[in-house]
Every structure is written in C-alpha cells, then in structure tokens.
Symmetry: C2
Subunit: 349 residues, 2 copies
Amino acid sequence: MSGDAKDTAGGYGEFALIDRLRSILTSSAKGPDVIVGIGDDAAVIDAGGGKCWVISCDVQVQGTHFPAEGASGFSVGHKGLAVNISDVASMGARPLYALISLGVSDATPLAFLDEVYEGINAKAARWGIAVVGGNVTRTEGPFFIDVFIAGEVERENLLLRSGARVGDQILVTGNLGNSAAGLYLLTHPEVKIGFETNTVLTHAHLRPQPRVEEAQAISALRLATAMMDISDALTGDINHICEASGVGAVVWEHGLPISTPALNLASIVQIDPKEWALYGGEDYQLLLTAPLSAVPALQEAVRSVGGGTLSPVGEILSASEGLLLQTRSGRVPLEVKSWDHFREPEAES
Amino acid sequence: MSGDAKDTAGGYGEFALIDRLRSILTSSAKGPDVIVGIGDDAAVIDAGGGKCWVISCDVQVQGTHFPAEGASGFSVGHKGLAVNISDVASMGARPLYALISLGVSDATPLAFLDEVYEGINAKAARWGIAVVGGNVTRTEGPFFIDVFIAGEVERENLLLRSGARVGDQILVTGNLGNSAAGLYLLTHPEVKIGFETNTVLTHAHLRPQPRVEEAQAISALRLATAMMDISDALTGDINHICEASGVGAVVWEHGLPISTPALNLASIVQIDPKEWALYGGEDYQLLLTAPLSAVPALQEAVRSVGGGTLSPVGEILSASEGLLLQTRSGRVPLEVKSWDHFREPEAES
C-alpha cells in the first residue's frame, strides 16, 4: 500500500485513511473493558458476567454503495441493516438492537424514505432486531443511511480475526461471487439472462442475507479459531485474518464454491467466475478457520440451521510462506484486492 | 404541526418525518429488554444486574450543522462528540464508548480530517470515552460525521423525559442563549465586539460543553423527576417533557439565566436576549424537573462538581393549563419553537 502523502482524501485509500485517523487517537482508543477496539469487524466490550457487547456501525451512501437513480428503497433499508448485522453476527454474537441515522435532502421522495423503513422493519423482524432509536438529518448531498448495531455474545463464544493457527482449514459458508455477478448484471443491462438467474444474482448484491443462525451455530461449538464476514472480498478478508493472526495462507482455486447462476452468467459474458469469487466482495458469507478435525462438526452445525454448505477453500500457513493461490499449475502469489470506494480496485501487496 | 402530505422531505418538518418513519416500524420497534425506545434523547436497554445501557447517535452535516467553508475541523470533531455525549449524560448515564462514521468526499482535505480526529481525541480523553471503532465512507456530497455513544447507568438513577409532576420546579444548569448569540456573531461578521465576549459566545456554539459531571451528580441524588439536554431550544424541550409526562408548564421570563456576554451583544445589536434563551437551541445545558423541596440539594450537587448555577425557570402545571410564559404583565401562551433543519423555525402549537 503506497504511503504517498496527498492533500485530499481522494488520493488516499480507504484503509490508509483509517490507519491515518486511528493513529491520531493516542489518548482515547482504549478503555478498561475494551476487548477489541478499532480494527475488527466490530468492537467488543466486556459487559461482566461472562458476557460481551459487540457494537458496530456502517454507512451506505447513495451514488457510492447503491445507484443514485433507480435503487429500491426497500433494498437500501434491507442492505443498510444487513451489512451491520453481518459484522456483529460474524463474531459469534446475537444482534439485538439498532439505531438508524438517515441523511435526507429536501428533494428526497417521501415514498423512498417509507420504502427504506419498510425494508428495515421487515428485516429487523426477520433477524430479531429491535430498532430503538436514531435520527433524521438534513443534507444538501446524497441520501445516506448509517446503521448502528449492538449484540451480545458469551465471552467463550467470541470469534475474532486474530485466532487462526498454522494448519487450520479456511472455510466459507454458501457461494462466493454471486454479489459481484449481480453487480455485473446491474451495470450491464444489455446482458439478457433468465429471470431466475437474474433474480438470484441481483438479490445477492442488493439484498444480502447475513448468516446469523450459521454464525451462532459455529460459535456455539467453540471449535473455530477465527471468523469474520466477507465484505471486502475473499482475498482481502483472508489477508485481514492473516495480518491479525500473524500467519500466511494458501487458497485453493479449485475449492471455491461458485453457484450455477454465477457459472451460467460467467460463461455467457466470458468472464472467469473465479475473479468474482476471489475479488468480488460483498458476499456477506462467513469466512472462518478451524482445525481439520473440527470441519465435519462445523459442517453439520451449519447444515442443521439450514445454512447449506461450509466449503474448505484453503489452509493457514506460516507467516513466512506469505499468501499463495494453489492453481492447477502450482502455487503462485495471491493477489490481494479489496473493494475500495476511494479508488478503483488495485493490488495492496 | 401540519399534516400536509407532500412528496419530498423538504416539505416535511423534522419531527413529522421522524413520526412518519417511526410509524412504519410496526414489528421491530420494541424488544424484551428495551426500557426506552425511539422518542427520548437516547435508547435505554436493561443490561441486567440493576444496570442499563444508554445508546444514542446523531449526525453533523457540513452546510447544515456547520458552515461549508471555514469551519475548524477541531470544532467539528469536538461538537460531533459533544452533542452525543450530552444526550447520554442527560439521562444520568456515564458515557463510555464511541463509534465514529465519517462521510468523506475525494476533495475533503486530509488536514481537515486530521483536525476532526484531533478534536475527537482531545474531547474523548476529557470526557472519559474510549473510541472503539467506526468507518470512513466515500460520498459525493458534503462531509458528515455520525457519532454513536454507549453509556451505562444504574437503573435507579435513570432520568427520562416522562417523570415530571404537577408542582415540580423546572431547572436549568448554566446560562441559556450563549449558543444562539454565538451563532449570531458567526453569521454577522460585521458586528464588532470584544475578544473575550466573542470567544465565550462563539465557543458556546462551536464547542459546546456537555454537562457530564453535573448530570451524574444530579442523577445520583435521585431527587429529580425528569431530565434531558437542551438541544432544540428551551421552549421546544420543555414541550418534549410536557408531552412525555402528560403535564403543562409555565416558564418565568424573569428567571431565565442569561450571561453578561450575551446581554452585552444583545444590547449592541438591539435584540431581546430572551429570544436567544427561549428559542435559540444548542445550549446543551441540562433541563430538569424536581420538587421544590429538592432544589437546594440539587443546586449544591451541581456546585460541588464545579458546574455553577442551577436556576429555577418555571413550574410544572396540569396538562389542561397548557404551556404558558409568565411575563411582567401576566401569563401568556408560550410559543413553542424548535430548530428544524428542514424548515425555518416556526410555531409548532
């Protein structure tokens, strides 16, 4: 990651910006009961009695995270809640409470706002969240929604990015790349494809389903060593786990779980679907590590809550081995790309 | 408040918009441990063991809450934190943890972002807050900062808007109208006034000091019946307490605590300073109610933490008596005005 000092945020990457701002918090970044501060999916606070609070917030901005024109308010509300629920759930916590901040311009249609709240209402009920507050503020810029989620987890069940150990299997729930394939369809309206395929893929992008029950089933077993959700992209998020755990990893190209709809679209538009799976981002599946011996029990736990597959996609190596991709022709360095709204995707290392 | 159905948010008032959106949350607004949901300064959750969590969020948008040009990043960071700390503290809770969401455009100067975080860092340390997370997102619109605060309070010490009883005194900490006077100075640069007066008033607007220690001293006594912070304006916030408590009130015009700097400025620019005190907003002082017999102990508690004065400014009446202003010439209906970023200030009732 380049360290070029430019004068505006536009020249800076999102992660570099976060690092820069975090370094300013010299006197306030830690408190006595803070188990995890800045740097994981969510912050973790010791609530006493063997319980932890897990808190997180994330903003979705019109024109950045969803199109300025034509986005359904229901999807925007759904996704605003979903991405935050995913952050809290992926640490093993039960999401419980939400606060909603909306930035609204004079020109924002009331019908759109109603739909946003209908999306929030439906999905909060689905995932067992109480919406307990928030605020509406005026902006002269694009609409935005910032959602804060608080959840609870037994301290023994808490899963962080930092627990991966050499020899652990790397596992993911469900399929990878559906969201990127859906974004491709949304940005290429000239592509004609069957209704069902279109719906599966675009919904994966617009209305992601956080793996709440699967995450709790996994954390309750206490067999996984690290967990997070896949928001940036598989490679970027494996890199986050490796950095936090002080390890390396190999990803098995042949093990990537890619759905039939994504394979169909890829073959029509002649794109390698592994690109979507490795670098696409926003799948909101769970990414975890666990010893090989624990894999069958974890797979059964995920199946038991109706969550489908839990696929091994690689193995944790020592830090000195770095990040590798196992292809048919051997191991090559793994290119780590994460989605960065301040820049076009590019290599980080 | 008119109920005209317009098509965009611009035609709607802030409070009407919040009511409209709240009404959509049919299935998700309450949970089993929710003591206070939408509608107070902050939400309150039963954490067990006689403790409550108090959580709140509030956004500051460039061009809406601070000027598009010339605002100091340090003040923006300070105020973003302060207004949220005030919401949590004014319920008697100890603010503990913060998450920060920033909306940043490509053109946002890095020096401004650094200053924002320097303001956050300094004030979080001052008020004992741990900044445990957050995110930076790209927007094509104006810069915004959304701050989430979590705090803790003993359930017995919790103070809501809803506890005021007929005959209670209405009390405020410190002075009223300094913030509005400061805003007047900031928007009328042609007015020449002494350096010290200018600093006191403009800082009251740009860098408000939440009354954290005073609020805790008051709540620990368990003598007050209701409390909130003055963010909208004295009249609007008394109205909030009256609505939540099912009571009326009389405000004593002669009892309004107005500072010497505000009186000086008012005399120079020939404005009635009571306008600033009654309708100005953003003073972030505490507004509370308590039986007459409790007033001396409360005043001593506020003095003991260095918080200065606690002034009686009125009395709670029955709901049928409505909202009144006691002037030299008798009681008149109290005009209730709150600051509304979607509209110019106007009468609500």
